[in-house]
């Protein structure tokens, strides 16, 4: 009998899990709510730490899922457990039976306007990291007008009780330094500043990126969280922070401010998550079985998780989890 595995989400985690499950002889089915596979990473231009084009990673992943059953523009409307596993009603009216479910539902980007003091959506020249990445991809953004002074704000929507996110979003530090370097490439005469609290360069080659950012790109990293942004007569941005290493408050005028938005759990999946009985962890992401040996498992039999639905993760972390979830599902099916 065909062993259907329902994979909710067609981003990096979903695609890679599907590819591996197929290789293991199972029948993955990807349900993707948007019109294309690829998820967030497909909107990215280049990847840290080595400025690798994102499409060079996404393309092989897309190749991998060729021949796999993919439903685009489709959501799971309802899911119930039955004697054989799960029965999912899709938004297109179809019903799918599956032995196991993999939640690869990913993240939402923090809505920058919630951090009101940074003036996103109010002051014209405040943009998000995602919008900057789009600019790198397309070369177009009317707000980016040969800026001579550019600032990056770390931890927007992360490490912040006031917005309800106490966690570190993990990838924003490295992304900020990558984007800061790229801005120097596009605008060599610009002065580029990043405002950080801790630079969390946790992966291979990341610390080298930091060094390169300082030495080769002359990006100035200032330790202090931006406290407020306002607009002057000319539409330029006035920002304030404490230069905490210097111990004094600091004020400067910028042409462009980029907010490094954190990851939050993708909330569009809340109903299905509830039906499956998967709780949230204290950070509001999905709770996996445990954070060491039960990374891909959940409290519920037959329900698995992979990627950023459980916590902010880098792309390599996500791919590793997608591969391990395939093994977990394979063992689960075979031991039944």
């Amino acid at each position: 009998m065909k062993e259907n595995i329902l994979i909710i989400g067609g981003g990096a985690a979903g695609m890679e899990a599907a590819t591996q499950l197929k290789k293991l002889g199972l029948t993955p089915i990807i349900i993707e709510k948007s019109e294309a596979l690829g998820g967030h990473i497909a909107q990215w231009d280049r990847l840290f730490p080595a400025f690798h084009p994102a499409k060079d990673v996404v393309a092989p992943m897309l190749d991998g899922v060729k021949g796999i059953d993919v439903r685009l523009n489709t959501e799971v409307a309802d899911i119930q457990r039955d004697a054989d596993g799960f029965k999912a009603a899709l938004s297109n009216g179809e019903t799918i039976n599956a032995k196991a479910v993999v939640l690869a539902t990913g993240f939402d980007l923090f809505k920058a306007e919630r951090k009101q003091e940074y003036g996103y959506g109010i002051y014209n020249n405040v943009i998000t990291s995602l919008e900057l990445e789009k600019f790198f991809r397309t070369g177009k953004d009317e707000r980016i007008n040969n800026p001579q002074k550019i600032g990056f704000v770390h931890c927007v929507g992360a490490r912040d009780v006031k917005v309800g996110n106490t966690y570190c979003s993990k990838v924003c530090c490295t992304t900020a330094l990558k984007q800061a370097c790229e801005m120097k490439e596009v605008f060599p005469n610009a002065e580029v500043y990043t405002f950080y609290m801790d630079l969390r360069m946790f992966g291979p080659g990341y610390e080298d990126l930091y060094l390169k950012t300082q030495k080769d790109f002359d990006v100035k990293c200032i330790r202090g969280r931006v406290c407020e942004v306002s607009e002057d007569m000319d539409g330029r941005l006035v920002i304030k922070a404490e230069d905490t290493l210097f111990g004094k408050p600091l004020k400067m005028t910028l042409d462009l401010l980029v907010l490094m938005c954190s990851m939050e759990k993708n909330k569009s999946i809340d109903k299905i998550q509830q039906q499956l009985g998967i709780a949230n962890n204290s950070d509001g992401f999905m709770q996996n079985r445990d954070m060491y040996l039960g990374l891909n498992g959940t409290a519920k039999d037959g329900v698995f998780v992979a990627g950023t639905c459980t916590a902010p993760k880098s792309l390599p972390d996500t791919i590793a989890e997608a591969r391990s979830v395939a093994v977990e599902v394979f063992n689960y099916i075979n031991n039944k």
């Binding site: 003091e117 931890c155 490490r159 912040d160 009780v161 006031k162 609290m197 330790r223 202090g224 969280r225 931006v226 406290c227 407020e228 304030k240 922070a241 404490e242 230069d243 905490t244 111990g247 004094k248 408050p249 600091l250």
Partner: protein, 237 residues
């Protein structure tokens, strides 16, 4: 040096509800200092203060309480809006100031000693008139910034308030009405029951002793504290 609560400063400080409310954990992001009006014009850094309080070290706390630093804050509470850890440095300062006064350590700093001026003015206004600010005790000579208009207002206080429709020192409702004796008595009782009288008397007595030590009358000492300003020392160059 001997002072009240010696060896128990930390314990005493952490009894204050404003510490319970305002002191969680700090990650040194500097947002409070960045937004702080006092940090711009004084040698002041609220982040550093929150860190000392978090350390719970008796010696460090003693040092803080006898320093000018805790007296620079203007209690605008701008820091409270922004702290990403939901601390309230402004409330922490209020708890520190209270302990500095109760312990007596406030008398060791120029800015701390000024509590005599504010306690004397504000508490007597409340107890005598039922107002924090009462125009008859707010004179031009010690407030030159009133400007010529302020001086004119002071010189014509009764006429002007009558013109504006105030009920200055009158019975019944209205602006600047005479607060009934019954209400003033109740304010005094509240002061007695809640510890304000004790604190006030302590501050007045500390100041008196200091005045005697410096061979000044209470009035002379008041004016000294009111005007003394080692300006350069307080600036954050």
């Amino acid at each position: 040096m001997e002072y009240r609560f010696k060896g128990h400063l930390v314990e005493e400080l952490y009894k204050d509800y404003r510490i319970k409310e305002g002191m969680k954990a700090c990650m040194n992001c500097g947002v409070c200092t960045a937004v702080c009006p006092a940090a711009e014009f004084y040698k002041y850094n609220p982040k550093n203060i929150v860190n000392i309080v978090a350390r719970k070290n008796e010696d460090d706390l003693e040092e803080l309480l006898k320093n000018d630093t805790i007296w620079y804050c203007g209690e605008c509470m701008s820091c409270v809006t922004r702290c990403p850890r939901a601390n309230a440095p402004g409330l922490v300062i209020m708890a520190l100031r209270k302990l500095s006064m109760r312990s007596g350590l406030y008398m060791l700093s120029e800015k701390g000693k000024q509590q005599y001026v504010v306690v004397k003015d504000l508490c007597s206004n409340i107890l005598n008139y039922g107002y924090c600010v009462y125009p008859r005790t707010f004179d031009y000579e010690t407030h030159k910034e009133f400007g010529p208009v302020g001086k004119w207002i002071n010189d014509n206080l009764d006429d002007l308030h009558a013109r504006m429709g105030s009920n200055l020192d009158g019975d019944g409702p209205g602006g600047l009405r005479k607060i009934p004796k019954e209400s003033l008595d109740q304010l005094k009782n509240i002061f007695d029951v809640t510890g304000a009288t004790e604190l006030m008397e302590q501050v007045l007595s500390d100041a008196h002793q200091e005045a005697v030590k410096e061979n000044l009358s209470d009035e002379e000492y008041f004016m000294k504290v009111y005007t003394e300003n080692d300006w350069e020392k307080h600036l954050n160059h």
